[in-house]
Symmetry: C2
Subunit: 188 residues, 2 copies
DNA sequence: GTCTATAGCTGGATAGAC
DNA sequence: GTCTATCCAGCTATAGAC
């Protein structure tokens, strides 16, 4: 799916690549949609967990960005979202992940923006989350397609910006007498 | 294409919707790729022109944002980019537009960032352009698919942020004795 | 230019033997 | 569970009459 695009995923081809033949694939996954949904559900759960871990790490923003802009992990979702455009069953599944992820991100941001020194009136959680995800998605997808949209410069700029924000947060936290630590640890 | 997704575009269906039949469509557009490329080329030129006009308007950032986040205009590109993923001929065409648009945006930003009071070291043109486009693309595409990702809040936040930036620019320009005017007019 | 007829392919899915 | 054989649908594209 990532290598050749979701359009290359057909019952015959998938079956062949696993060494069985098409009818047997239909024995396990009655319809092709069932297959897409199963793959999606499995990877989505992993991804949500990795996102939760990133958001709870010592440098939440950096970890989030690295996860979102990693071509390996995000590549599947680029294809999934495209495929979902004309596969209703898959769209429902992708919709659930999208909603869960955004909810998770916004919740974390609400309590995190202050630590980064960002005014939630100027940068509301919904905007920050959508911007970060949109930027990452665009970069990964342009990179995958080979479009010359200066994605390398943009990625470099973003890395620098995030480094600055993490520094800022570290200073703020230490000024409050807290060591920037895992958010899951006990809070004073 | 926008209504039912690019997958609904087949020679038969397109022909039927124009009141002719498939072979005649192939008479005008030998292959389906030719049709996609022709449509893309036509709309792309219009879009580049509109983008240039937006960037030369009295409030460049606002105009750019409105153009990019307009579901009507951007909807086609959401589908085109998805379709380009498995149509090499179309990918080349989309790649050209993507490159031209980004180049145009970055050029303008280079001379514009200062007026908005943005430090080009903190926010390089490539980053600003990619972020704005990525955000807009994500919002439009989530909206089209019906995903619950708080796109309304994000859009509202972005509108507010841009309003602030335009205000800031207006103040800066008037402080320098310039009326914020069309960038195509004569400069002192 | 515009049509009918049709070839040729690929894919989803099922029947039914083993 | 796993296979062979097969049906049916939809699409791209061409041949050839008018």
């Amino acid at each position: 799916m990532v290598r050749s695009g979701y359009a290359a995923v057909s019952s015959r081809r998938v079956a062949a690549s696993v060494g069985i033949n098409a009818p047997l694939l239909h024995y396990y996954f009655p319809t092709i949609d069932d297959l897409f949904v199963a793959v999606m559900r499995r990877r989505a759960n992993q991804y949500v967990e990795r996102m939760a871990a990133a958001l709870a790490s010592p440098e939440p923003l950096r970890a989030w960005w690295e996860l979102a802009s990693d071509a390996g992990g995000a590549g599947l979702f680029v294809e999934a979202i495209a495929a979902a455009n004309h596969r209703p069953a898959l769209r429902i599944e992708v919709g659930k992940v999208a909603r869960d992820l955004r909810q998770l991100q916004m919740q974390t941001l609400t309590s995190l923006l202050d630590e980064y020194g960002l005014d939630p009136d100027e940068f509301p959680p919904a905007l920050v989350a959508a911007a970060l995800q949109g930027l990452a998605f665009g970069l990964v997808s342009d990179q995958m397609a080979g479009y010359e949209t200066a994605h390398a410069e943009a990625a470099a700029g973003m890395a620098k910006l995030i480094a600055r924000l993490e520094q800022q947060r570290a200073r703020r936290l230490s000024a409050r007498g807290r060591i920037p630590a895992r958010r899951t640890s006990a809070r004073p």
